[in-house]
Symmetry: C2
Subunit: 449 residues, 2 copies
């Protein structure tokens, strides 16, 4: 007797109730995508290793499930789906109508220490707009991100969006005289970890990245001020204090104008109240180039529920086709946590239209009708095997069907069947030919989904 009675750590079995709950998330995500007219695509769970090593950040690379297949190919289970999206779109870049609005629902794999909110296998709703460089793509995507939470009944009291901008940070670093992109990237990474670091560790991080002559303390104070800005005016103030040259000043003005338009667009889309300027958000991945955002739980111990941003250079880097892009992803694990917390998990029901009961002598006719009712789209079951009528009735009530159909030989000699509507206890004698109609009409608008 072999007993492999457990999944791998960080992986999940889904019994019917849990599977229905998971599928309800997927159904809601697909519904949101439909309303915003995004089309679903998919790509393999197993991919050539290089697809991910070329693009993903260091952290993801260290968490890959990777191995050699029987043909000696280096392969990996997907930790994310963006590289595959880039392949699909890159392959048909010329023929696809822009903007490309696509989504998928993926199982992703990361070898992390399993803990609250983190598993080694998890599901993601990934949404991208490719081929559109306007701020209005960000607005559309953030509106969709908000809808993908509010569709479950979550509202502003439960979550909000922290909106930031890597371009502002890059302009600010330039105003500080830090023009080299590798230095910029290093400092963006420091800024990304800011909230989680002690002051003295931050000093160390910053001094590693700044030019030798720079004043670390001054950098920290100025950066904190920009991080804390909550209006465009405050951002402008942070720049003015650095006396930028005219070209830089013009670039900042342009960027703040784009911010204004984006905020107005979000207001128009009725998302304004959800969105909070927060330059503390930087996002870890190196490929973001503009606006970035995270959806956050609104409670004090709030965690990130989703994140995304603009990545205008990745397509060119990976495929040679220059295509601006913006995308975001939400995971199932933290979503289920917050839905549970506020008792907003979609309700799971396994509705059954008919349970059919028969005598030995009426088995044949009863099963004929079972086939007929099912072909009419009704869900029907009966007791397998050969059992007494009383046992069948006992079983029927365990299933809590909408209707119990009893094939007594007396009624059947008149071509009739006893139909009991379980919740009302109403009983009717119905001709066999009219069963499907009777049940469907009885059910429409009340019982059937």
């Amino acid at each position: 007797m072999a007993v492999v009675m457990e999944t791998l750590p960080g992986f999940r079995d889904f019994y019917p109730t849990e599977c229905a709950a998971r599928n309800a998330l997927f159904t809601a995500w697909r519904e949101v995508a439909r309303r915003f007219h995004f089309l679903e695509f998919d790509s393999p769970i197993l991919e050539p290793l290089e697809l991910f090593t070329e693009k993903s950040g260091e952290e993801i690379r260290e968490q890959l499930f990777t191995f050699e297949d029987r043909g000696g190919r280096k392969v990996a289970l997907r930790p994310e789906t963006t590289p595959s999206l880039v392949r699909l779109i890159g392959t048909r870049a010329a023929s696809l109508k822009k903007p490309i609005k696509w989504f998928n629902i993926t199982e992703n794999f990361r070898y992390e220490r399993p803990q609250k909110g983190r598993l080694r296998s998890f599901y993601q709703f990934n949404v991208d707009i490719v081929g559109e460089d306007s701020y209005s793509a960000e607005a559309e995507l953030i509106a969709l991100a908000i809808e993908s939470f509010s569709i479950f009944g979550l509202s502003r009291q439960h979550f909000y969006v922290r909106l930031s901008d890597r371009q502002i940070w890059v302009l600010w670093l330039k105003a500080l005289g830090i023009g080299e992109s590798s230095l910029q990237l290093g400092l963006l990474n420091v800024l990304d970890k800011w909230e989680r670091r002690e002051r003295k560790d931050l000093e160390k991080d910053v001094s590693h990245c700044l030019p030798p002559a720079a004043n670390v303390q001054e950098f920290l104070i100025r950066a904190e001020k920009l991080r804390q800005s909550s209006t465009l005016q405050e951002i402008r103030g942070c720049f003015d204090a650095l006396n930028p040259n005219d070209a830089l000043k013009e670039a900042v003005d342009q960027r703040l104008l784009t911010w204004e338009k984006l905020l107005a667009e979000l207001d128009a889309l009725q998302c304004g109240s959800f969105v909070q300027m927060d330059l503390g958000i930087v996002r870890g991945l190196a490929y973001y180039t503009g606006f970035v955002f995270e959806v956050f739980e609104a409670s004090l111990d709030g965690r990130a529920l989703a994140g995304g941003g603009r990545y205008d250079l990745l397509f060119e880097k990976l495929t040679g086709h220059s295509l601006p892009a913006v995308g975001f992803a939400v995971g199932d694990v933290t979503l289920v946590d917050i839905l549970q917390k506020y008792r907003l998990l979609p309700k799971v029901t396994f509705s059954l239209d008919c349970f059919v009961i028969f005598e030995n002598s009426t088995r044949k006719q009863a099963l004929q009708d079972v086939g007929h009712l099912r072909q009419n789209g009704l869900s029907v079951t009966y007791a397998l095997g050969e059992s007494t009528v009383s046992k069948q009735f006992k079983k029927a009530f365990e299933y809590n069907p909408n209707f119990i159909l009893f094939y007594g030989s007396d009624e059947l000699s008149n071509n009739q069947v006893q139909v009991k509507h379980v919740t009302t206890h109403n009983v009717a004698l119905v001709e066999r030919e009219k069963l499907a109609n009777f049940v469907c009409n009885y059910t429409t608008g009340s019982k059937r989904e």
Copy 2:
């Protein structure tokens, strides 16, 4: 520039049209399961290696995608789902209501040579009844298998079911004096490959498995006769010719009675015309213990489309809980092939309810209504970025929406929007507050799915 522009061999990208077609299969499978009241479960794609080596046949073991994870665990991508089903049910064997009627839709992985009808990653619809030893479980399952093809419009002229029985073969081997189960299993494997082998290879195979004194030619002739039996009477004849002892005769009688009941039950369920007795079917996997069946394409070069059977000993072997079981699986690749052949692939449409067009001055109001319409369940899109009205109209027609909504500043000053029903060219002026209602009511029963 890194170019990883291809999937691994035997894996597939799904562009929106292909993804929608795949999802249409899944939707149809779920609909069949709902009608028969089977509940969906799921289990990880990655499992401990031993889960599969303990149970799966040799062929599957050689085709595993298997590796060591970062924690040194031997793991494998699932080649099939039955071992995981056994774990889920075995873990809660006592508390689950019997019979357990479960299904799942899985991505499975086998390292085979990619060819027509075979890929390295494919999807399966897996359906099982656990905890019921009556023939009526087989009947229910075969009826469901048939429905999972006929729901697409396939009928008896396209496919049929070959029904066989490992118990008959075991009884027949006993009647030949072959009682040892390892010999029996060897000969069942030979019978499984019968159709694909040359006569002289068959002779060799059989002589390897038979006791030294046995007459190979006689075995082949008698086996062929049983293989060709198409009635219960002919099966009985095959046994009578061997002069079985009384106990064996009684066992054969019992079994043929069960056959009679199963065939009658299939008739009652209106499946009789689909089912053909065919003892040539044995099924490769070692764990089948009773009735086995395959769904076959009806054309001359017909291929197996699905298969299954009873496996009453597997639960006991793997979990210690004795639970009779019967199951089957259908794959997506051969199904799509036959649906394509008969032009029965579900039609794919990406319906769009509204395309919204606005002037610069009406952008805000238009986008407000976009949000409102979407919250009312309508699918809505508009041109991202800032473009002229005529460019927006051009784009709108590319999308083929049901309605085009035009926010002209004149109409809007009267709080009205121009709504054009695209197929009829009807145009109406509609008040903003009544837009959702207008579109929903116009659409109900005609355009919306």
